[in-house]
Amino acid sequence: MPIVTPGKRPAKRFEKSKILGGKMVKGRRATNAELNVVPMVDMMTMLVIFLLAQFSSTGEVLYMQKDIKLPDARHGQMIEIAPVVAIGADQVVVTGVKVADIPDLDRDSGYLNIPTLEERLRDEKKRWEFIHKSDPSSKWDGVVNIQADKGVPFRIVKRVMYSCGVAGYFNVNFAAIDAGSVAATQTEKTPAG
């Protein structure tokens, strides 16, 4: 038996029929359907423009953590790459390594420095010096980023700052959410007068 295409197979006498012949005729429609891709290209172009506007060449210097809620600042500058000391509600972390617990720091409040933090920052400084050994033009600027939760008391921040200073990081940057761009956008939206 020959292989036939599935579907209706009219009798030969029906094919010639004026009434039934038209219904049985098949395969007139083109199998290729043309899609209009212009709106899709438009949308993708808009997406690319938006994402390019959001693009940051420095990358993400600070990673937002769940237990750290940063305060807002309107007059901040662009953040720069430097070691990050993150102070949460429970612990102090330097570039992803825990160096102290907040309850322990509260317990021995008689001291101002945090030895483990100092040690870790000195290691970071040594690493920087090793990398820039053959580059006499580079100068040590001692920049450190402090990323702390809104509610962290100054007594903890003060100890962290002191330890940073003792380790050679005297240029402290406090991290904050940039509210300047948000405020500017809201001002633009508000009609003048």
Partner: protein
């Protein structure tokens, strides 16, 4: 065929006319845009974080160079449970009391009043560009950053932080 176009084929002439419609292959463009979107989505930074640069006193940090006029006026802002206390070496001493306590027991500082005083101070001493913020141990990081931000906004960009 679009409106206003020439007939594609046929007509009374013997020569066949070429079609004016050209088909552009947009598949490479879509490929390129898809790659761009994927790359930009992966590398996008959604949260804009800024920094407020401060100096810390008493750790052997090198002091920034100041002119004689800048050295003449020293501005100190003490902040604690009572509020702000703004003093200058010119003899000014202004108290800005706190607005009370919040729901969680945090101190509510009168930052707007401080902003007004700092702007007034800056207009009186245009050369002043530095301020020392002395905070009590109980002051939270959020309040400290807000005060530093206010100082920078008022034109006192050289902020030094110290404890009381």
């Amino acid at each position: 065929m679009g409106a206003g176009g020439m007939p594609d084929e046929g007509g009374s002439g013997k020569r066949k006319r070429r079609s004016l419609d050209a088909v552009i292959n947009v598949v490479p463009a879509i490929d390129l845009l898809s790659c761009c979107i994927s790359f930009l989505l992966f590398t996008a930074v959604w949260t804009q974080i800024s920094r407020l640069q401060v100096q810390q006193l008493g750790t052997g940090a090198p002091e920034t160079e100041q002119t004689e006029q800048q050295k003449q006026l020293m501005v100190t802002l003490a902040m604690g449970e009572r509020g702000f206390n703004l003093t200058t070496s010119a003899g000014t001493a202004i108290d800005i009391p706190a607005l009370g306590r919040g729901e969680k027991g945090e101190i509510r500082f009168d930052v707007k009043a401080l902003e007004g005083q700092l702007k007034q101070l800056k207009s009186g001493f245009p050369d002043a560009s530095s301020i020392t913020v002395s905070a009590e141990d109980t002051v939270s990081y959020g309040d400290l950053v807000q005060v530093i931000d206010t100082c920078v906004g008022a034109g006192l960009a050289g902020v030094a932080v110290t404890g009381i």
